[in-house]
């Protein structure tokens, strides 16, 4: 890999117009990545998903040179219907469209040469890789007291014109005081066997509200890694919903720093997998000051040869009295070859806190199936009804009614 990645990196540098300073920084990130390479199961964070092996097995050798000079036509048929929205369209990792027509233009600032700041470069080699290879980072700032009238849908499309096996993309959001954003990430893959590396950073000022719905629904053969970092000031709220279902492999990491009092974070997720799929959600909620709250609910429905993992860490700083932290995961294993792993982790240094976690897994309840079938439903109908019922309460956690209905339709949940 090393030769290939270095050659590809040189090519990127040559064909882009980075400043000397940027090039230095990018080189630094490349070297950081090369020190450790792709994460393996030896790392605690990756014990359930050996990315290095997964890439080797499914893709083989990666290539990294993504030709950003190539312009892809935007296929408008992928756009969500029935709901007016703003758009950012990524095709093969390159932004092809940014459209905020529904908003007051002086309330949104879009900056397309945002410089990555020197943070979060801890020991996450994938973020280093991302920093080394992304050519552009958009920063979206929502101004004080502004609530976007319509949601923003970020389309993550790929097509078979992509030459590189890996591509990286990055977005930065700043939500100023009292502002709010509804953000839907929609994955739509026309390429195969790519490793897609996504990094989002969110900065939520006082009273800001972020709702991020990640919908990976369409079946595809890609390997996806996505990292959300969320910084939260006083009274801010973040709500993250993940539908983890389409990709061959997917890992969503959500790191949330509750650093303002009365800030809260909600993470809800659904894994719906089969046929060799392997997905993971890992959350780290850092309660850093008094009176913060986090809530997490993750449910899995796992078919043949599929595997999901949920690692949920709640960290409570010694200053963070009155923390309220909760997490629950439940899984239905539809086959003896399906596997669910949960690793809850509570690290608590304050004494006046309320934290709990729970996890349960089992097969579909035969008695319930019998009950439904005795009413004339066939096995398939009964199974679907039970699974939809099992997942419904996660979808019900979506606080935005419009988007909740959209998600319900997308995943075929009947009320």
């Amino acid at each position: 890999m090393t030769e290939q990645i270095k050659t590809d990196f040189e090519k990127i540098i040559k064909t882009s117009a980075f400043s000397e300073k940027d090039v230095e920084l990018k080189k630094m990130y490349l070297n950081k990545f090369l020190e450790t390479g792709f994460p393996t199961r030896k790392l605690e964070n990756w014990k359930f998903s050996d990315l290095s092996q997964i890439i080797k097995k499914n893709i083989g050798e990666l290539s990294f040179y993504n030709d950003y000079s190539f312009t892809n036509k935007v296929d408008t048929s992928i756009f969500v219907e029935g709901i007016e929205h703003n758009k950012i369209v990524f095709i093969n990792g390159k932004v092809e469209k940014v459209d905020f027509t529904h908003e007051d233009h002086d309330k949104i600032e879009i900056n397309d040469d945002f410089k990555f700041v020197n943070r979060l470069e801890d020991d996450n080699s994938l973020i280093s890789l991302n920093n080394a290879f992304t050519n552009k980072c958009y920063k979206i700032t929502v101004k004080k007291n502004y609530t976007l009238k319509k949601p923003l849908v970020v389309y993550h499309s790929t097509n078979n014109k992509i030459k590189s096996k890996n591509f990286n993309l990055k977005l930065e959001f700043q939500l100023e005081q009292n502002s709010s954003l509804r953000l839907i990430d929609l994955f739509n893959d026309g390429s195969e066997n790519n490793f897609i590396n996504i990094f989002y950073n969110f900065d939520l000022k006082e009273n800001a509200i972020l709702k991020n719905y990640k919908i990976d629904k369409a079946q595809n053969k890609n390997i996806r890694y996505s990292y959300n970092n969320i910084e939260q000031d006083n009274n801010s709220v973040s709500e993250t919903f993940v539908l983890s279902s389409g990709s061959n492999f997917s890992k969503n990491e959500i790191n949330c720093n509750l650093k303002g009092e009365y800030s809260s974070a909600f993470v809800n997720g659904i894994f719906s997998l089969n046929d060799g799929q392997h997905h993971e959600i890992r959350t780290i909620i850092n309660h850093l000051v008094k009176n913060t709250k986090s809530y997490q609910l993750i449910k899995s429905v796992l078919g043949k040869n599929s595997k999901s993992a949920y690692q949920g860490k709640i960290f409570v700083d010694s200053k963070a009295q009155k923390t309220d932290g909760y997490q629950l995961s439940k899984a239905i294993l539809l086959d003896e070859t399906s596997e669910f792993n949960a690793k809850p982790e509570l690290e608590i240094y304050a004494d006046d806190v309320k934290c709990s976690h729970g996890s349960a897994s089992g097969s579909l309840d035969e008695n319930s199936i019998f009950y439904l079938m005795s009413r004339g439903l066939n096995y398939q109908q009964s199974k679907e009804l039970l699974i939809n019922g099992f997942l419904l309460d996660v979808v019900e956690k979506i606080t935005d009614t419009e988007i909740k209905n959209l998600v319900k339709n997308m995943i075929g949940l009947k009320e």
Binding site: L372, M373, R375, G389
Partner: protein
């Protein structure tokens, strides 16, 4: 309508039903009484097609070999079981479940499926007859229902589906006297020269409201005595221990 010939059932080498035979003709109401653990629920489950039993013998329903039919096919042919312990199904709306069930059965019978409006009209009418809280129809199936409400919901389902053979497994237990009357009315409304009932109960009380044609006493997986309604009274007086 239903012919059970020498039915024996085991679970994991434990013999539960032993050479059980019973014949139910169209329009008849049969009551089975028996102590806890005598095999009443096992019998109902087997008739509805629950898996997990080792079975020998023969059961014919309108000349179909019941053991060749899946659970849902038995429902399509008109067998209904009111469960002793109705299950709670989280996340499944009661109305949607009822509509799916009704239409599955109508479709199998070659009848037109009901649209939302026709369905709601019917279910509301039935709910009113059974004094079943209509608001509950929009809740998750049996979730947060009281014991009595769950039982009433079974009878509501029965009324909606109008089965040919209704098996009521201890539907009366847990019902107060008002609910008992309403449930009995539901059964009596469905009674006709074509529809039959197998009423499983512990107590004679229910049989004051639903007059059976035959009463059978089940002990240790066997019918030890059959007779008319007077048998229930005798049983009530003597108790199961001193019976025989």
């Amino acid at each position: 309508m239903l012919k059970i010939n020498n039915l024996s059932a085991n679970i994991e080498d434990k013999s539960i039903l032993k050479d059980f035979s019973l014949n139910i003709n169209p329009g008849e109401v049969h009551a089975i009484m028996g102590p806890n653990g005598s095999g009443k629920s096992t019998l109902s489950n087997i008739l509805s097609g629950k898996k997990g039993y080792e079975i020998s013998g023969e059961v014919l329903f309108e000349n179909n070999n019941l053991f060749e039919l899946e659970t849902e096919e038995r429902a399509h042919k008109g067998i209904f079981l009111a469960f002793q312990y109705p299950l709670e199904i989280p996340g499944v709306n009661t109305n949607i479940f009822l509509k799916t069930s009704l239409n599955a059965i109508r479709k199998a019978k070659g009848e037109k499926e009901l649209d939302a409006i026709e369905f709601l009209k019917l279910v509301k009418e039935k709910a009113r007859e059974l004094k079943f809280d209509e608001e509950k129809l929009n809740r998750q199936l049996n979730v947060g229902f009281s014991g009595g409400e769950k039982k009433k919901n079974e009878i509501l389902q029965m009324s909606m589906l109008s089965p040919k053979l209704s098996i009521l497994d201890e539907t009366d237990s847990g019902l107060d006297i008002d609910a008992l009357k309403v449930v009995s009315d539901g059964v009596n409304t469905l009674r006709s020269k074509d529809n039959s009932f197998l009423i499983i109960t512990h107590y004679q009380r229910l049989l004051d409201y639903i007059k059976p044609d035959f009463v059978h006493v089940l002990m240790n997986g066997k019918i030890i005595k059959s007779g008319g309604p007077e048998l229930a009274l005798e049983l009530e007086k003597k108790g199961y221990e001193n019976f025989n």
